[in-house]
Subunit: 316 residues, 2 copies
């Protein structure tokens, strides 16, 4: 097994002007995740660090830069899962923290539960020493403009604006022993009703990892991904349908888009290291590092490659 | 297709003294759901009415009689789903209403979302005219005792008490056209941390319905059902593994219990009307009505039958 970290920065109509920033962001995240994997050997560290990088980047809809709900507030969903023992942590309605994916990991490691939402989740964040920001600290000007545009569009016919700009982020990783992990973090959709939960924090809908099949993170229209149970359907095709991760992603997303007229994107890795990268949206930003190769793309059939040094391992 | 409504009242160690009440409750619920199906022809009405009956019954862990979280409060999860168009409604952290499953249906029918939690969900309940009870109105003496026992047990070794008494409720239904629906409603587990979400409201974990495969509702240890994605794994076996609903339930729950040492129960119906009723726990209360036959049971291999009249259809 060749250690690999693959990330996405959201499926949707990424504006031309934002493409360079999206590429920079996913490339940085893949490298940071890969470096963590080299240093600690942990696929959980790899996906957590990769997602942390994107949560810190205001160009993505997660952590700082998350989209706003109808009331103008940030409410975030996230999930992390290890494919070896199927341990997982999930959070919804998280606010005022940059790294919901790290709160997931805290819930996984310090409670007898997997999924905690709202005030209960914030209580754990406080107890575990998370930096609780002042209200509004995660809100960007771009997120405010997106909400204003959304509200204006409700009187018009700009249906393409209905779900705001893309940018849910996610990561999957494989280590040298065949362990996989997955993580997804998001602010949801612009103008959502307070309390709305999407697919990202739901195991089997937007996020799942199982060493017997692989690890997957989804992005796109959350309600549709949830009701079609996209990630579970994909992994069922890998397990029972003799499909590769790439074939499974294509089949399920094409079925979904044909049936519901909504688009989505997928990244996946199976326990042999075979990748699945597919989207029915116009664009999806993604990148992966494997050894010295850093691959990335945004448009269909785009696969750019850069050779990067293997990260220096600490104390080596 | 022969119209059928199948319900469960929770898997677990149902005490001997509670067995008669459990049987009465599930029988009543199956009849109420079947009557709704006969009257309106809607599988959604059928599962909603069946679950409503159990939410009103203090002997089950849903609505009135729901178990208490660590702080002594009721926080409820529920999901409803139609297998025809995969429309769904899900709620978490609902409080002070008797019928979270009806709030699900409201979310499904009146919002552009599927899953809403906490204050946002309560806001919709208020807007839609739900009867908002005073704080504590759902709390039974039995639920208080269960929480006190749970807290006392933390210093002892009564591991069997760790997750309180059973009683998550659910229903699946099939109409004459081959439509299926599923619904699950629960108070979760005794002594849970505030904000904890279980498997019941998560499509593919505790609840799912798809006319192409069938409808399923799960009950048991929520964290384990969620991480093992029990309902999705079952439906994958039905779709790809040439399994009947019963075979799929057995296979997945046996795998789950072997791997995680936790128990669960399942009810399912496929689009031909074949039933799956299976549990790895000591007991699970269940009942179904099909035509004039009302079947029910609590112990393994128990299948009692009563002949009941077909319900009188209104205006007929």
């Amino acid at each position: 097994f060749e250690p690999t970290v693959l990330v996405h920065g959201g499926a949707g109509n990424i504006a031309d002007a934002k493409v360079p920033f999206a590429k920079l962001g996913v490339k940085h995240a893949a490298r940071r995740g890969y470096e963590a994997l080299q240093q600690t050997g942990s696929v959980l560290d790899a996906v957590e660090q990769a997602v942390n990088a994107l949560e810190e980047d205001g160009n993505f809809n997660a952590g700082y830069g998350a989209v706003l709900n109808w009331d103008g507030d940030v409410e975030m969903d996230a999930a992390i899962m290890h494919g070896g023992n199927l341990s997982a942590g999930c959070v919804s309605l998280a606010r005022d923290i940059v790294h919901p994916i790290s709160l997931d990991r805290c819930i996984m490691e310090t409670t007898r539960h997997q999924y905690i939402a709202g005030e209960g989740a914030m209580h754990i964040a406080q107890q575990q020493g998370f930096d609780i920001l002042s209200k509004g600290a995660l809100v960007t000007e771009a997120a405010k403009k997106s909400l204003a545009d959304f509200k204006a569009s409700l009187n018009g016919s700009r249906a393409d604006m209905l779900y705001g700009s893309p940018g849910t982020v996610g990561a999957v990783a494989l280590d040298a022993c065949g362990n996989v992990a997955a993580a997804t973090s998001t602010g949801g959709i612009t103008g959502k009703l307070p309390g709305r939960i999407g697919d990202s924090p739901l195991l089997g809908a937007g996020t799942y990892a199982d060493n017997e099949t692989g690890a997957v993170s989804a992005t796109g229209h959350g309600e549709t991904i949830m009701r079609f149970n996209v990630v579970s359907r994909m992994l069922a095709l890998v397990q029972h349908g003799n499909c590769s991760m790439q074939q499974a992603a294509q089949q399920v997303l094409q079925q979904m888009s044909a049936r519901f007229e909504q688009t989505a994107g997928i990244i996946g890795i199976d326990h042999f290291g075979q990748l699945g990268i597919y989207f029915t949206s116009k664009r999806m930003s993604w990148a992966y590092q494997r050894g010295e190769e850093l691959h990335f793309g945004v448009d269909k059939d785009e696969d750019e490659v850069e050779i990067v040094g293997e990260p220096r391992v600490a104390n080596n």
